[in-house]
């Protein structure tokens, strides 16, 4: 039994499901390779050349090279994996979280200190049909 993808109506969320797993596998395995210090060194020395070791699509390569964190999620990236690129760059989770929601670092930190992003208005996409709710 395959469940309906009713989570598509959640705003600003990229569920790493079968569809994303199918297209994102190699992108995420590239990220996994950065757990190894030798690989991190090779990646930093020549990023484009290092990416050639993995069968990535042009869109995936571009998203990595541009550090387009949202773009990576759209082409099959899984946050637990793509964050390894950020750690390799010396960024923190909070830096990347801020970039994904287009908030300056301080503003994002302030939002968390004030109790996080509120559920109000953030449970359904604005265009989610009434039946979806």
């Amino acid at each position: 039994m395959s469940a309906p993808r009713d989570y598509e109506s959640i705003p600003g969320t990229y569920v790493y499901d079968a569809e994303r797993g199918r297209v994102g596998y190699h992108l995420n395995m590239f990220c996994m390779s950065l757990n190894d210090p030798e690989n991190r060194k090779a990646f930093k020395a020549d990023q484009a050349a290092y990416l050639e070791r993995f069968p990535l699509t042009p869109e995936q390569k571009e998203a990595v090279l541009k550090r387009d964190w949202l773009g990576m999620l759209r082409v099959g990236g899984n946050i637990y994996y793509t964050i390894k690129i950020a750690f390799c760059d010396g960024l923190t989770f909070q830096d990347v979280a801020g970039m994904m929601c287009s908030m300056p670092r301080e503003e994002y930190a302030k939002m968390m200190m004030a109790g996080g992003r509120s559920p109000e208005g953030n449970l359904f996409k604005p265009d989610a049909s009434v039946e979806n709710k």
Binding site: A3, D6, Y7, S9, I10, P11, G12, T13, Y14, V15, Y16, D17, A18, G21, Y25, N28, M29, C31, M32, L34, N35, R40, L70, L73, N78, I79, Y80, Y81, I83, K84, F87, C88, F93, Q94, A97, G98, M100, C101, S102, Y108, M111, M112, M113, G115, G116, R117, S118, P119, N122, L123, F124
Partner: protein, 279 residues
């Protein structure tokens, strides 16, 4: 006979481990969190368990997308602390309990839970942070630990009701074990949080409070929460709370709440800590 003497639900936010490891636990940001963990530590020390069955998830450290076991049980005598890309956490090595772990494996599989068996495996912050929170900074962990790793990285994770039933099967298995052992069960992760997308930073206090209450009084109600409901109402990574239900299933029908602590924010997360005893 072995018996379950306590259950602990605990967030495993990596920043908690980093705060301890870097000596920042006493600063303005972290002190309120660590102060809130002290009663849980005292409670656990008094409970004096021999073994913990620790239900957690790996974060692309021991496992990758190459192999994705839904439920995995660690049968090794020891588990090294994983290097998560910036050196292993400076915490003691984790010693397992192979005899009980193999008994659990056999018992669970014959009870229709198809466990993957890990004879060698590093353990990451998903396992070591809850130990640090509840045992503090120690030279050696005060009990043996059996890692039980659940997939929550690739959708779909096992359902809440499946996890709850796994917990019930763990209880049956522990009670069949002939040696006198005091066992605690950890369910880790949560509470509401979202690490990805434009909705990153999502926190839902109301959901979390109801979940904490349900863990004590009405876990059956919590087993009806669907995956979409978790992701929508507790954030995409809040779905980790299915692991709390596995712990709750292991505690039996009635519990006594020994301690509860909730704090926002803990890094990007609403953190929860709940100590239960079978009643």
């Amino acid at each position: 006979m072995a018996r379950i003497v306590g259950g602990i639900a605990c967030s495993h936010v990596p920043a908690i481990g980093a705060a301890l490891d870097k000596g920042n636990a006493g600063n303005e940001y972290w002190k309120p969190y660590f102060d809130g963990t002290i009663p849980a530590r005292d409670w656990l020390a008094k409970l004096n368990p021999d073994v913990a069955i620790l239900i957690y998830n790996d974060h692309a450290n021991a496992l990758s997308l190459q192999l994705i076991p839904t439920f995995l049980l660690g049968t090794a005598a020891e588990f090294p602390v994983a290097d998560e890309g910036f050196g292993p956490r400076p915490v003691p090595k984790v010693y397992g309990h192979p005899k009980l772990a193999w008994h659990l494996t056999e018992s669970l599989i014959l009870d229709e839970f198809d466990m993957t068996i890990a004879n060698e495996m590093p353990v990451d912050h998903g396992l070591t942070v809850p130990l640090s929170v509840t045992c503090g900074q120690v030279a050696q962990w005060p009990f043996r630990v059996i890692p039980l790793c659940v997939n929550v990285i690739q959708y779909p994770p096992p359902t809440g009701v499946r996890c709850f039933k796994l917990g019930q099967a763990i209880r049956r298995a522990v009670e069949e074990y002939p040696e006198d052992l005091r066992v605690v069960v950890y369910g880790t992760g949560g509470m509401s949080h979202q690490l990805q997308g434009e909705r990153a930073g999502f926190v839902n206090r109301e959901f979390d409070q109801e979940f904490l209450d349900g863990m004590v009084n009405d876990p059956e109600k919590l087993t009806k929460i669907s995956h979409t409901q978790y992701m929508r109402e507790s954030g995409s990574e809040g779905i980790e709370m299915v692991m709390w239900l596995a712990m709750r299933g292991a505690l039996g029908p009635k519990v006594r709440e020994a301690y509860r602590f909730y704090r926002v924010p803990t890094s990007n997360t609403a953190s929860g800590l709940l100590c239960l005893e079978p009643a």
